[in-house]
Amino acid sequence: MIQFSRFVLPNGLRVLVHEDNSTPMAVVNVLYDVGARDEDPNRTGFAHLFEHLMFGGSINIPEYDDELQKAGGENNAYTTNDLTNYYCQLPSANIETAFWLESDRMLSLAFSKKSLDVQRKVVCEEFKEHYINRPYGDIWFKMREMAYEQHPYRWMTIGKELKHVEEASLDDVKKFFRKHYNPANAILVVAGNVVTEQVYELAIKWFGDIPAGEKYNRNLPQEVEQQEARRLDITADVPVDALLKTWHMPSRLDPDYYVADLITDILGSGASSRLYQSLVKEKQLFTNIDCYHFGSTDAGLICVDGKLVKGVRLEDAELAVQAQLDLLIREGVSVMELEKVKNKTESTMAFEDMSVMNRAASLAYYELLGDANLMNTELERYNSVTADQLVELSRKLFEEKNSHTLFYRSK
């Protein structure tokens, strides 16, 4: 049970505090309700580029990182399709430094031309390092474009293409900041060796006078229900064939989300999972195969992703995957198999909650979903999933017309 307090400042900033006096550290986590899904289709990659610019100096403080490091702190940030999250950890005695830094960049950035010029280049190098300069690096660009026709999950967080990042202007940066970076669109979580009343006072002192800004109302184009299977067959300079197949799955707040999550564990997580045991170990069609999803807030994708043993045909490999899905639908899961994935969920949560930083990020995320206390009821939801639900949802999810299949062939 994670204890926390919650209050809302008059400007709309939501503040959550989680006390844990067993650590000498404090974590300050600021989540902004903006991700790659909120981008203009002609300006993709912007939310992530913007995350870099948040370290390029704010209105009163030229060097974010230096000031934090002086106080013995460390920080990082990440951008997903759904959100942008900034976190720092520092000795709790210096916690006010984090309030000073985070509130100043929420108030206003410095909007430095130099920072934009440099970070555009840095992000282009990041793009190359992760998506161009490595085998199969573009596979998810192709899959997202195939799986989504309307929804902005169509593009990657890094952006559709390098050009979008290269063309970002200072004017775009300012507009983006005004639209998304304000108290009404942010959640502040403070955790660790702190006292709730003291955090409350610091929050008022540092964040209280930041103008509320406008609440951003998300209105994203949604997918229409898919009516027929989509396929793509490409050839590239890679050493072995790869198969990537996906299906639309329920959104994060749908009760079926938990069922879908357990389905991925049954099929493809861990060395005793079904796909690994049957297709890597017994049939030896794949050298590795996984089943997973991204935990997307809006309706996401269940993915089966594997590399083939040389000499195996992609068509045969796909049939073998399908046979496993059919088996699941036809014969369901045993009591023990269901217990296994529930035990695994319990264990994963316990290990994740060891770190104060993870606890803070989780609280922020659940608050964004609408209720921070969801963090404490998740395990119950998983434990209440039944074998019948697994079969029923599998039947619905793995319908051929709901699928996207990508054959990635070796030249």
Partner: protein, 425 residues
């Protein structure tokens, strides 16, 4: 309130850092057990460290293959049955092979530990290395290697170690197709018998420990023919490459160069090691370092650049590592040498040094968070044969080292002509 003025801070150098002491037990068979009982979550980590790293092998890849295939079957259980048992309890059983040591690490909810220990016993007494599992291992690793060899960073990491130590040294060797193909069941069984079943072993346990932890482990493995006591590491001769500069073409469509610049460096017992860690932080050891500020934050040549001291037991190397745009790779190397020159020629000012001190203290403090991190520190001290005071000596150096000492270290070690230099595009 003036937002231009920073709130007062307590300098991290004023913090009094404490490394929670371990409890030590000795099992009936002489195996030593180091334990840290801490943390709020009901979780446990047990690591069996064997002296079975690749320094002990007579034939390439035997140590890592044996380690990986430890849980591929016993006379009683198939690989699937083993994996299913571990997964059923929501646990994980990782294997890792290093140069000197090789580990089996169990993570589990504390309540399930008694159910899992008999399995570990079985793996340590009765692993049979089935022929078909070895074949599968060979096939899958061959393909994985093919994919990895397309990655410039993977190729660069292999080559730079080979230049530093020579391919026949355990630190410089890497997996090749022919080594993989040449593995036999007899190799693995013999290595297992000598270095695991009858091997030397140390245990590291951390988390929320059950009160009878000692008894549980004694029952599980206290009667096995494992040995405790001091270990002698085999020594291998180093054959560093003669040539210092390399430009390798690996990917005709590559858009980035994998850059590695490295020199040899003594191990942790050398008196310069503490100071070098501070100098390294200043140079390229964290996000606020000079390399990062110059090459990423000022010039935008790379997504990230770091320097570090390699984590080896017998000797180390000082390494600079980055992936930079193809057209700016040479300019990046030049800037690395410029930063070395600055460290040799100019004293670091007090403000920057204080920042580095505070950063190192703060990150050490953060890194002591939780039982797994604490046991990790102790494991490092025990396996490297360092004194128990090592942690505090390191803290003292961070707090007190002077600009002049850092400059002397830079003059001694940061000389471009001593460095190997490699770009893989």
């Amino acid at each position: 309130m003036n937002r231009k003025i920073a709130p007062p801070i307590k300098d991290a150098v004023e913090f009094d850092l404490k490394l929670k002491p371990y409890d030590k037990y000795v099992l009936k068979n002489g195996v030593e057990l180091y334990a840290v009982n801490a943390g709020a979550e009901e979780v446990i980590q047990v690591e069996w460290v064997f002296f079975a790293g690749n320094s002990f092998e007579k034939k390439h890849m035997v140590a890592s293959a044996t380690n990986f295939l430890l849980k591929s079957g016993t006379s009683q259980k198939s690989a699937f049955a083993i994996n299913e048992l571990v997964d059923y309890y929501g646990a994980s059983l990782a294997r890792t092979c290093y140069n000197e040591t090789a580990s089996i690490t169990l993570h589990s909810l504390t309540k399930h530990l008694p159910k899992l220990l008999p399995l570990i016993r079985e793996l340590l007494t009765d692993a049979i290395f089935p022929e078909e599992e070895i074949l599968l291992f060979q096939q899958n690793n061959r393909q994985r290697l093919e994919v990895n060899l397309k990655k410039n960073d993977f190729v660069a990491n292999r080559l730079i170690d080979e230049y530093l130590y020579g391919f026949e040294h355990p630190y410089g060797s890497y997996s090749r197709f022919e080594d993989l193909a040449g593995l036999t069941r007899e190799d693995l069984v013999a290595f297992y018998d000598q270095y695991y079943r009858n091997g030397k072993c140390i245990l590291f346990v951390a988390g929320k420990l059950p009160p009878n932890i000692m008894e549980l482990l004694d029952t599980a493995i206290g009667d096995l023919p494992l040995q405790g006591g001091p270990v002698e590491y085999p020594t291998h001769t180093i054959h560093p490459a003669g040539e210092k500069k390399y430009r390798i073409s690996n990917d005709p469509n590559g858009v980035q160069g994998a850059i590695r610049i490295a020199r040899d460096f003594p191990n942790r017992h050398h008196p310069d090691f503490f100071g070098a860690q501070v100098l390294n932080a200043l140079f390229g050891g964290f996000f606020g370092s000079r390399l990062m500020n110059n090459i990423r934050e000022d010039k935008g040549y790379t997504y990230g650049i770091y320097s570090y001291l390699q984590n080896h037991i017998q000797r180390s190397a000082w390494m600079i590592s980055t992936e930079a745009g193809k057209e700016v790779s040479e300019a990046t190397i030049e800037e690395v040498y410029n930063e070395m020159a600055l460290l040799r020629e100019e004293l670091v000012d007090e403000e920057e040094l204080l920042l580095v001190r505070n950063y190192l203290m703060g990150s050490t403090l953060g890194d002591l968070d939780g039982p797994f991190h604490i046991i990790g520190r102790w494991k490092n001290i025990v396996l490297n044969g360092l004194s128990e005071d090592y942690f505090y000596q390191s803290i003292r150096t961070i707090k007190t080292i002077q600009p002049e000492e850092l400059q002397q270290l830079a003059r001694k070690y940061l000389q471009p002509e001593d460095f190997y230099e490699l770009v893989v595009i």
